[in-house]
């Protein structure tokens, strides 16, 4: 079983602050995805990182895939209340049965005015 640990589990910050969420595993993944889930909704894909060391930016969000493809981070600059939600990393392993997502333990972010 591939386990993805996210930290912190909960984060409550003020608008304008920066934050980093970490996603760590002892397993190597073919690629890694980050999702955001709002209350009462399904997860929505934010980004997929594929290459070890890859960095992708999505407006104020910066995603990095570790060199060994075992870990990833999500950095948010100048957080806004609209960033509030559950952030999930998900590792992908390509198997004979196809690509399977293993979700991380999740980080619940709350951004207050």
């Amino acid at each position: 079983t591939q386990l993805l640990e996210q930290s912190p589990q909960f984060l409550s910050i003020q608008e304008g602050e920066n934050l980093t969420v970490y996603c760590n595993s002892s397993s190597v993944f073919s690629s890694l995805q980050w999702y955001r889930q709002e209350p009462g909704e399904g997860p929505v894909l934010l980004v997929t990182v594929v290459t070890g060391g890859e960095v992708k930016k999505l407006k104020r969000l910066t995603f990095q895939f570790g060199d060994a493809r075992k870990d990833s981070s999500l950095h948010i600059t100048a957080a806004q209340p609209g960033d509030t939600g559950l952030y999930l990393c998900a590792g992908i392993i390509l198997t004979g049965g196809g690509n399977k997502l293993t979700f991380g333990t999740g980080t619940q972010l709350k951004v207050e005015l």
Binding site: S31, Q33, G40, G42, V44, T48, G98, N99, K100
Partner: protein, 114 residues
């Protein structure tokens, strides 16, 4: 808009009373997935269909079954719901299994077991 639709959004059932959750998609994707997500936890894959081929996760209880009568629809049947089965059930689709196909999630059905 192409999308993944789940009905109902909220379902209440009684302990031991069979219940069926529904998922439909307009994306014409080959793969449909069912996940269980308990409060404050990550989604956990129960099973998936690639076309008509059913793939069960090893740790999915026998109490959970699925049907996919056609490309567009997939059902989750819980034969005898227990209190521990109360959760959000998410349906997702992807174009294929190979590579890094994005999974598109529905809004989920929140199941309450009384």
């Amino acid at each position: 808009d192409a999308m993944v639709i789940q009905n109902p959004r909220y379902q209440v059932t009684q302990f031991g009373k069979p219940v069926t959750l529904s998922c439909s998609q307009t994306l014409n994707h080959n793969v449909m997935y069912w996940y269980q997500q308990k409060s404050s936890q990550a989604p956990k894959l129960l099973f998936h269909y690639y076309d008509k081929d059913f793939n069960n996760e090893a740790d999915t209880p026998d109490n959970f079954q699925s049907r996919r009568p056609n490309t567009s629809f997939c059902f989750l049947d819980i034969r005898s719901p227990g209190l521990g089965d109360a959760a959000m059930y998410l349906c997702a689709t992807s174009r294929g299994l190979a590579g890094f196909n994005e999974q598109f999630f529905g809004p989920g059905t929140r199941l309450t077991v009384l």
